[in-house]
């Protein structure tokens, strides 16, 4: 088994009194792509957003159990959420570039970290755009508004922006669900490349996508982790009947 990056043990999540995640336990390997699949409302997005504590902004939530990133409990006392989020980056379903220039979007995370050095910023911006496979398309118009980019480019810009702060983990919440097939393919190729340097957890509704890009797959249903195994095993030879029914499209 690969080196473990994220360890989850008996993790429960409540919206008010409504329990939406039940005793989730799994190990997410380092430098691999782990896909979270399951029908709408199964809790996969909630789980993803628990890893970098993005759910904290919702009032009335409560958690139990542990999520360890590099053996440190992200819900432990004394954890600085801000520095956690710098190590655990996130890309959202709907691309959400800031209404600023392409350059300023990518530089944002570094600037709020206090980086002022223009040369270092320039370097980090082009490196991040390059890693997100966007540099060639935008290098002549870094000062143009990010909102002028196409949907697929905007999403890759958001990936570049997340990479700029140099995280170890990248959480992706259905990053290609709003994109056309060609843009989707680009994102998938990118995810495949990025796993050399990053641990990636990706939520997807698209079964083929999970099969194409991920090494491990976790199947969620009704707030429970039904099955978690190598992607090949999940898709070819699942051990739980429910998983088989879902991936063969019998429900969902």
């Amino acid at each position: 088994m690969d080196e473990v990056k994220i360890t989850v043990r008996d993790f429960d999540f409540y919206y008010g009194t409504n329990k939406v995640l039940h005793a989730i336990s799994l190990d997410i390997p380092k430098n691999r792509v782990t896909a979270l699949i399951g029908p709408s409302g199964c809790g996969k997005s909630t789980f993803l957003r628990s890893i970098n504590r993005m759910n904290d902004i919702i009032p009335g939530i409560r958690v139990d159990g542990k999520i360890l990133v590099d053996d440190v409990d992200v819900y432990g006392s004394g954890i600085d959420v801000v520095s956690l989020r710098r190590r655990v980056g996130m890309v959202f379903q709907k691309s959400n570039p800031f209404p600023k220039s392409i350059y300023e979007n990518v530089a944002y995370g570094l600037r709020i970290n206090g980086l002022r050095d223009k040369r270092k910023l320039d370097e980090a911006v082009s490196r991040s755009l390059d890693r997100a496979a966007l540099l060639d398309e935008v290098k002549d118009r870094l000062n143009a508004s990010a909102l002028a980019l196409s949907g697929g480019q905007q999403q890759r810009l958001c990936i570049a922006r997340a990479l700029a702060v140099d995280p170890d983990v990248l959480l992706m919440d259905e990053p290609a669900s709003a994109l056309d097939p060609i843009a989707t393919q680009k994102i998938e190729e990118l995810v495949f490349d990025l796993k050399k340097n990053y641990t990636i957890v990706i939520v997807t509704h698209n079964m083929q996508q999970a099969a194409r890009v991920s090494d491990r797959t976790a199947f969620f249903m009704l707030g429970k982790l039904v099955e978690y195994d190598d992607t090949r095993t999940i898709f070819m030879n699942p051990s739980v009947k429910l998983t088989e029914d879902y991936i063969t499209g019998r429900f969902g």
Binding site: N52, M54, I57, P59, V82, S83, R85, R86, G89, M90, F92, K94, N96, P97, F98, P99, K100, S101, Y108, G109, R111, I112, N113, A144, S145, A146, L147, A148, C158, R161, A162, V165
Partner: protein, 277 residues
């Protein structure tokens, strides 16, 4: 029959629009036709002449109105915008709904009452009328407008932007001031300028705060002239020359407000275009 009804309603709508526009057109027509003849260079540069002497101008009142707007802006913009930020950021709390209600009530308070308030808390303790007191009274009128506009516009900013900033390690305050507020800025700016343009035309709250001043003054601790109060005083006078000047003052006032409104529009559009690229 159905067609007739439809036509009737269209005609009624058209007539209503005309009815609404006629007063505006007449106001502009009167102000321009009566005011323009009294306008001359001296009107802008000179101060009022003593009773019985013809000529003179409202230079002091024009500058006074500008100073009052600046004082009102300096007080009301930070307070109003920050209150709006608070309302938008802590929208669910009891305190914020109380503040929201208070702002709406304050917005409906007659301006003369606000003048009395400024008189009680600034003019009385300092024992004199002053530009500060006048600007303060105007600021009180502007604050709730700016606060509510800011709140509404901040709420229109997509939640995804806030999430993106937080996910990059921004604190709540950082996300607000580096991403959300800038995204809403063009609209907020319009709100501020429109509110300031509105109070530029206020008379009642200035009567016993800024009072009036026949002489040229830029001292904010002294009474100061303003176009509105000057027009009010002159228009009630029995002297033909003063009444002519009151029209001219009204024309200048309307023009100033028009210019502010145009600046608001142009600046908003330019900022929006910059953001969109």
């Amino acid at each position: 029959m159905r067609k007739f009804k439809s036509n009737l309603i269209v005609a009624l709508c058209g007539a209503s629009v005309l009815l609404a526009l006629v007063p505006l057109a007449m106001i502009l027509f009167y102000v321009i036709s009566r005011g323009f003849s009294a306008l001359n260079w001296a009107f802008f540069t000179q101060t009022p002449k003593p009773v019985g002497e013809a000529g003179g101008g409202m230079g002091n009142a024009i500058v006074g109105t500008l100073i009052l707007i600046v004082i009102a802006g300096v007080i009301a913009i930070p307070v109003g915008v920050l209150s709006g930020v608070h309302l938008a950021e802590f929208k669910g709390t009891r305190f914020s709904s109380m503040v929201r209600f208070a702002a709406d009530v304050l917005n409906g308070v007659p301006s003369i009452v606000i003048g009395i308030f400024a008189y009680a808390i600034i003019v009385l303790p300092l024992k004199r009328f002053s530009a500060i007191a006048g600007g303060f009274a105007l600021a009180i009128i502007v604050i709730p407008v700016v606060a509510r506009t800011t709140e509404e516009l901040l709420r229109l900013v997509p939640g995804g932007l806030k999430e993106a900033a937080l996910a990059l390690g921004a604190t709540r305050a950082k996300a607000m001031f580096s991403v959300i507020l800038p995204a809403a800025l063009p609209g907020i700016l319009t709100g501020i300028l429109v509110a300031l343009a509105r109070v530029a035309g206020e008379t009642a709250p200035l009567l016993f705060t800024a009072f009036n001043n026949r002489f040229f003054s830029t001292n904010v601790t002294q009474p100061i002239g303003s176009l509105t109060v000057q027009v009010f005083t002159y228009a009630l006078s029995p002297y033909d020359d003063w009444i002519r000047q009151a029209w001219a003052g009204a024309l200048v006032l309307v023009t100033m407000i028009l210019i502010l409104s145009i600046i608001a529009r142009v600046a908003t559009r330019r900022l929006e275009r910059m953001a969109r690229g």
